[in-house]
């Protein structure tokens, strides 16, 4: 299995909408052992000036990894998910993610580099909230970048 070098520069447009629910924020917060009340109690979030529950700082990984799945599951990519190891991750928040947000992600493949028998692939998700009554406008919410190492045989 070899990684398709032509992946670099490829983009995948925003696909399905991710609706951020309060229970999902609570579930994710518990899963990362977060205890801050702004993840759990609407009144606590409002007391800090927020419109609704605040997602934990790494919550956007859900949306980013959904976007990455488009690449990983693309038969043309040559990526074996069982040999994928996460190498680095960054979240830049242009604003926090709140319950009630409707998010979409555009995926960009920024780098593909051969490493031994495998490859290091760097992707970037631009995450937007759909705004306006018809959801026709977009507000930039977060930029996430991720590098994955697809291990070759024996790596």
């Amino acid at each position: 299995m070899t990684i398709n070098p032509d992946l670099q520069g490829r983009s995948y447009p925003a696909a399905e909408v991710y609706d951020v629910g309060r229970e999902k924020i609570r579930e994710f917060a518990r899963a990362v052992k977060a205890t801050h009340p702004a993840h759990f109690e609407v009144e606590a979030a409002k007391a800090l000036g927020h419109s609704d529950l605040v997602a934990p700082p790494t919550f956007a990984i859900i949306i980013a990894q959904r976007a990455d799945a488009q690449l990983i599951e693309d038969p043309d990519s040559g990526i074996d998910f069982s040999r994928v190891v996460h190498a680095d991750q960054r979240f830049t928040h242009h604003r926090p993610i709140f319950a009630g947000d409707r998010l979409v992600a555009e995926l960009h493949v920024d780098g593909v580099r051969a490493m031994g028998g495998g490859a290091m692939i760097t992707t970037r998700s631009e995450i937007f909230a759909l705004t306006g009554n018809d959801g026709g406008d977009r507000q930039s919410v977060a930029t996430t970048t991720s590098s994955i190492l697809v291990r070759g045989e024996g790596q």
Binding site: K24, E27, F28, R30, A31, V32, K33, A34, T35, H36, A38, H39, L48, H50, V54, A55, P56, P57, T58, I61, I62, Q65, R66, F81, S82, R83, V84, V85, H86, A87, D88, Q89, R90, F91, T92, H93, P96, R151, G154, Q155
Partner: protein, 145 residues
């Protein structure tokens, strides 16, 4: 109680905490995040792809580690940037039914840099498990009012 920006200085300690991890925690994280890669919950699968055993999601470790910063800042929304490199996998032993952790993660943090113009401070996290640094360049940028 949020820290006062004016009183922040580089090198200031923000505290530490210990995170205990079980296989159940990894299953919960898989469900919450949607990352169902079996290397994080199935021993035979993990060893079959040449890993030493079931390993924690890097994103579990990253997500759990930043809570130290969130709680120190007093508002999760204060974390405007957060990055890390995953350098060592955390092996999580199967301690199901024993009440014992399968791995332990030690997180500590210190203010790395204060940027008065931006109103932000960079917090550098040290994240260690089984005597090894598992995250490198784990840096959270916090905006404090």
């Amino acid at each position: 109680m949020s820290p006062s920006f004016d009183e922040l200085t580089a090198g200031q300690d923000i505290g530490s905490r210990t995170i205990e991890v079980t296989r159940t925690d990894l299953v919960k994280y898989a469900g919450a995040s949607g990352d169902f890669n079996p290397i994080h919950w199935n021993e035979a699968f993990a060893t079959g792809v040449e890993l030493p055993g079931v390993i924690a999601h890097g994103m579990f470790t990253m997500g759990a580690a930043v809570q130290l910063v969130t709680d120190w800042a007093g508002d999760p929304a204060a974390v405007v940037d957060f990055q890390t490199r995953f350098t060592k996998p955390i092996l999580v032993a199967d301690t199901t039914g024993t009440g014992q952790p399968g791995a332990t993660i030690e997180v500590s943090g210190a203010v790395g840099k204060v940027d008065p113009d931006a109103g932000t401070a960079r917090v550098d996290l040290t994240v260690v498990s089984a005597g090894q640094k598992v995250l490198m360049k784990a840096q959270a940028v916090v905006r404090l009012s």
